[in-house]
């Protein structure tokens, strides 16, 4: 029987005593890279823990590719979770930490060792694999947690702040690994507070605040649904001040700012379509438009619009 390929939250609420974790969350997360974005305490880790069955909802149901998180025996064959906490038992080496998990899957020792080395090499920890995890730096611990979460080749990888503490090279390699997985129709669900990074790596974004889902979907789609904030575009052109004057006459344009170099404008408009038509008219009048790029189709802007910069973590 075909399993549901999505991660589904259906009316999920979770409270910690009287403290709200998440409230009435309904989500369908498709395969690909999905970023959970929200301030500290907004409910990101709660959502991840619910997916992994570390906590259970008071109301609603969670399903990970058709498997209930209450069935770890099945779930953990398709899901790998790198939490923000160190999990290595005291005194174990990085290699043993990864190997142990694999042995529980029923692999032979030889096969488990092969998979452990493969995962460790992917996070560039081969040389340190024989050292005790307790002696690792913060970045190395992060990497060994990643290796442990992905060693069994899961279909769904859940990662709590996975890029924290990684050096630029490993960070780039890790992001590339995430992209490989996403291309293989796997789920990569991660949380991050580095919004620029989320912007670069995510296919989808889930914005969460105070335990409620504020927005979800592809970043561009989410942006286009926010009507109360004018869209911003960066227009590169030679005759910036004349183009600015022309755009300012358009009724849908709310703000035009000249760039410091005099060769660009930041334009705010209430109508993307009318803005496109206006630019067309300006171009026809022999004003060379070198380029137009959306200035607020990124997580940083969405975060600011929907959650507010005060909640940024």
């Amino acid at each position: 029987m075909m399993r549901d390929p999505e991660v589904v939250f259906d009316g999920v609420s979770k409270f910690y005593g009287e403290v709200l974790g998440v409230n009435r969350v309904s989500l369908n997360v498709p395969p690909g890279i999905t970023a959970l974005v929200g301030p500290n305490g907004s409910g990101k880790t709660t959502l991840m823990n619910l997916m992994a069955g570390l906590i259970f909802p008071e109301r609603g149901t969670v399903s990970v590719r058709g498997i209930s998180p209450r069935d770890p025996e099945k779930l953990m064959r398709v899901l790998g979770y790198a939490t923000q906490y160190d999990a290595a038992p005291r005194g174990v080496t990085g290699f043993d930490f990864v190997l142990t998990g694999l042995l529980l899957y029923g692999h032979t020792r030889a096969e488990a060792e092969r998979l452990a080395w493969r995962a460790i090499e992917r996070v560039n920890l081969r040389e340190a694999a024989g050292r005790k995890v307790a002696a690792y730096s913060k970045g190395m611990r992060q990497r060994i947690r990643l290796a442990q979460a992905m060693a069994h080749d899961p279909e769904v990888v859940v990662l709590d702040e996975p890029l924290n503490g990684l050096d630029p090279l490993v960070r780039a390699e890790t992001i590339s690994l995430f992209r490989e997985w996403a291309a293989e129709e796997r789920h990569v669900i991660l949380s991050s507070h580095v919004l620029q990074e989320v912007d670069v790596i995510s296919d989808q974004v889930i914005l969460i605040s105070n335990g409620m889902i504020v927005a979800e979907g592809e970043i561009r789609n989410v942006r286009s649904e926010i009507s109360e904030h004018p869209s911003q575009f960066l227009v590169r052109c030679r005759d910036a001040s004349r183009v600015a004057a022309m755009l300012f006459g358009e009724p849908h344009v709310t703000e035009v700012r000249l760039q410091d170099d005099g060769a660009g404008l930041l334009v705010s408009t209430r109508s993307r379509d009318e803005f496109a038509q206006a630019l067309g008219r300006i171009a026809v009048q022999s004003h060379e438009i070198e380029g137009v790029i959306p200035a607020d189709e990124n997580v940083d802007s969405l975060y600011g619009y929907l959650i507010g910069s005060g909640g940024r973590s």
């Binding site: 910690y16 005593g17 823990n49 992994a52 069955g53 570390l54 906590i55 259970f56 209450r70 770890p72 025996e73 779930l75 953990m76 064959r77 979770y81 939490t83 906490y85 160190d86 999990a87 290595a88 038992p89 005291r90 005194g91 142990t100 998990g101 042995l103 529980l104 899957y105 029923g106 069994h152």
Partner: protein, 352 residues
């Protein structure tokens, strides 16, 4: 995933966890509890050895000591036996008191004089094997089973889940591709292995600590007779106590945060077990394991306080087979409750 696979998973988890159960920083005091009685017996043995060695130089013969009788004077006895090993003199108004100690190498004989006339003779073996075995039985039943293994298991088994929650590492096991019951059984087996080794060896060490200073002839006779069976049943009782108490504290570690509460409740329950109706007595670990002890403990004196008597009163004993079945029954019942609890366990390090 069949039963055999789950069993393999549980054994793997046990193998990984046993190291933690043995060497947990929070649990080193358990070794102290396990070895404390052995140290006491060792100390007593050293004292006996020292007395034999030191007193042999000035020992009187057994025949000489047997000629001493009340009414003899102090000077007369000194002429006959020589200088005593120890002497103590004190006065009480008009009367003079003296206490002299002699030994023939195996007995210590204390002579009491009033106004320099012998008024009392107190003779006892330097080491009395029968008496020491009864002391061992009493220490084993009243201290080792009721307190040392009880609190030792609390330290080992509560740590299996609560300790990991405090260390923020429990999620490692809950994220394993195994049923939670399998994880629980694996951890329980690790705790049982560690506690049985620690307290089994502790029991054996106590047993041998009582032997080493005894008369070799008596020890050989004991080993040729009931000795091996006694050793076996002491260790069996300790092992069963680990199995029973282990299950209770494992469940407690999953159900409550503060170990003091279940410890106090269980200790009281176990202590008043002898006064409970027969049906309720069966819901006790102590009831069964005490029944396996091969040597009766010293009976409780009438003059000890009522509360202490209540806490020390032994339950009616059960046959060995009934005791084994009873511990197994209690353990399975408690493990079933623990299995239900672990299915509901959530990771919430923030509130720890």
């Amino acid at each position: 995933m069949n039963l055999a696979f789950r069993l393999r998973q549980a054994l793997l988890i046990a193998r990984l966890e046993v190291r933690r159960a043995f060497f947990s920083k929070r649990g080193f005091w358990v070794y102290g509890l396990a070895l404390f009685p052995m140290l006491i017996f060792l100390g007593h043995g050293l004292e006996v050895k020292w007395k034999r060695e030191a007193w042999s130089k000035s020992a009187a013969s057994r025949a000489q000591l047997d000629t001493i009788a009340e009414g003899q004077t102090l000077d007369e006895i000194e002429r006959r036996l020589g200088r005593p090993i120890r002497r103590h003199h004190w006065e009480d108004g008009e009367r003079e008191h003296d206490s002299w100690l002699y030994s023939d190498g195996t007995r210590q004989v204390r002579l009491r004089f009033t106004n320099r006339v012998l008024t009392g003779i107190q003779s006892r073996q330097i080491a009395n094997f029968d008496e020491d075995r009864t002391v061992l039985a009493t220490v084993f039943q009243y201290f080792y089973l009721r307190l040392a293994i009880f609190f030792g298991c609390l330290g080992i088994f509560m740590n299996l889940f609560r300790g990991e929650m405090l260390d923020k590492t429990l999620h490692y096991w809950l994220l394993a591709p195994a049923r939670r019951e399998t994880v629980m059984i694996g951890k329980y087996l690790a705790g049982v292995a560690a506690s049985m080794v620690i307290f089994g060896l502790g029991t054996a060490a106590c047993f041998f600590a009582v032997m080493w200073y005894q008369n070799p002839v008596e020890v050989d006779a004991y080993w040729g007779g009931a000795g091996p069976a006694h050793l076996f049943w002491y260790i069996a009782a300790a092992a069963l106590a680990c199995i029973g108490y282990g299950s209770v504290f494992l469940a407690a570690g999953l159900l409550v945060r503060n170990p003091i509460i279940p410890a106090v409740v269980l200790l009281l329950w176990e202590s008043i077990n002898g006064f409970l109706p027969a049906m309720l007595q069966r819901l006790s670990v102590l009831h069964y394991v005490q029944s396996l002890c091969p040597v009766p403990a010293v009976p409780i004196d009438d003059d000890i306080p009522a509360v202490a008597k209540l806490l020390l009163a032994p339950a009616e004993s059960a046959s060995a087979s009934f005791a084994l079945a009873g511990v197994a029954g209690v353990t399975l019942l408690v493990l079933y409750a623990a299995a239900r609890a672990i299915r509901r366990t959530e990771i919430d390090y923030g509130t720890e």
